[in-house]
Subunit: 303 residues, 2 copies
């Protein structure tokens, strides 16, 4: 299972009662955060998540509302006694930007490793997760991210017995390792079924609608997409500043067919995003105007 929490839903600037857009997910004791604007560490605390197990932090782009909370977050992770390294993933220039911001957070008890994205699509695998970064279309270089948890096939105990595989080999085979013993050489494919459907969350904000979003979101358990504006008269504005309308997000969801789509990154001038949901749901029924702290535990299919 994968725990998911959308810590905030604001765009541009944090507001009283609306944190900036940031996502955190947790699987097997490891947390991945996407975006960290001003106040995200408070939102995290409010949501009851610990800053210590954050092992990966993905940044979509270098506008302040997506990264300005980083120095405080890093210090708070340090105060929580994090010592394991933090992997940071983001557009080219990431190390320069993070090091500039660290002028007020120079000393940390953990290392930061940088993965700067240089391709339009990249996959980074990390302890059972796959993180896919895909380029979107904003007025600066910006990426969307997929977080995917793979699930291996079922172990076929009856077959293992039938093949006379000794019991002390079973665990190895379940973990994808070959077991070579007096009885023979046993490989995982002998007893493991085909890989089963995993869990997939797609996150993309600060972009015009582009096909990569629908491609990566195809069949996702959850898509989280920018819904900067609801009012039709803001369309010119969205185009000019390369943001996404709520209905445009819905059309991407209609194409990708995730189980559910949450909207986020609302304009500070839009106090009640719910108002536009009737039209949004007409395009993609399972749409939600998410509020800060919205969370879900996504389960494997037969869990």
């Amino acid at each position: 299972m994968l725990d998911v929490c959308l810590l905030g839903t604001g765009g541009m600037m944090p507001l009283p009662k609306r944190w900036l857009t940031s996502l955190i997910t947790r699987y097997n004791g490891k947390s991945i955060m996407i975006d960290c604007g001003e106040g995200t560490q408070i939102a995290l605390r409010e949501a009851g998540w610990s800053p210590k197990p954050i092992d990966v932090m993905c940044i979509t782009h270098f506008h302040a509302d997506h990264i300005s909370g980083l120095p405080g977050m890093l210090l708070t992770m340090g105060n929580a006694e994090k010592t394991s390294p933090l992997l940071m993933i983001g557009p080219k220039g990431l190390e320069r930007v993070v090091n500039a911001l660290r002028v007020v957070a120079p000393e940390l008890p953990f290392e930061i490793e940088f993965h700067e994205l240089s391709e339009a699509e990249e996959r980074i695998s990390f302890e059972g997760f796959h993180i896919d970064a895909f380029k979107v279309n904003h007025n600066v270089i910006c990426y969307g991210y997929n977080i995917e948890v793979e699930r291996q096939g079922k172990f076929d105990a009856a077959k293992a017995k039938e093949l006379g595989i000794p019991l002390h080999c079973w665990n190895k085979l379940q973990h994808g390792e070959i077991c070579e013993v007096a009885e023979g050489r046993f490989t995982p494919d002998m007893v493991m079924g085909a890989a089963r459907k995993g869990i997939k969350v797609t996150y993309s904000t600060d972009t015009r609608p582009v096909s990569s979003i629908a491609k990566y979101g195809a069949g996702a358990d959850l898509m989280i997409l920018e819904g900067m504006y609801g009012e039709a008269e803001k369309y010119a504005n969205a185009k000019a500043h390369k943001h996404m309308m709520m209905e445009e997000a819905a059309r991407l969801a209609a194409e990708a067919q995730p189980k559910e789509m949450w909207l986020t990154h609302y304009s500070p001038a839009m106090p009640r995003p719910d108002e536009y949901m009737k039209d949004v749901k007409r395009i993609f029924e399972n749409s939600v105007a998410a509020r800060d702290g919205r969370n879900v535990t996504l389960l494997f299919e037969d869990e």
Copy 2:
């Protein structure tokens, strides 16, 4: 009159329901802010103050909890259509630190002027205010600040008439200018009484108690001082990390005799600073364990 609002009262890290310590004051349409940690722009909005008229920003020192909110605050000031320059005052290195943080806020519609403090005590005068910076004792270079509004003497209309000063000279003389006309040469000292008591606010946090604080706070209308810890057993900690105990702040206030003293910059581990106020008030009666958003309008003596 001078409006004063203590936007937050937290130290180290912002918490749900406790913003980081920051002060804003307003006089004659001009605002001065001291310190700007993560979330200060939200606290400002919550308190109902505008970011646009902030003309001066003083930074006590370069720890993240006092300056990490700057990039977001600058962008929000820009979004509020501020175009007049911002004067920033802080320790040596200010321009370097601010420019590093501006990696995520490079474009602003207003200029930033830097005043880097190099002396132990400096006075900067600005449109009817005096800002006094005085060095305190933290583990990095740190300053306290006085904000003082001067008040000139009363205009003596009877005397002006007696001296035969023409009416069109009065306004000039009231504004400290000489008036030279056919009737003679008239100077302000002929009709203006002695300068009257102004308004003074003293702000100092992140320091061991030092004599400069009591010196600058002498007779202040309001002293705002660090009260990092209340529990006596935290004294070694306070000394080691160069912070101030609540009772130490009270002793400085007892020496300086301001009208009132507010405590701020509480440790995140101290949820209820009120608990220690009995002992604090025994040392200085007019002490308050301030909460976020505490505000007051300080009046001239006979206003």
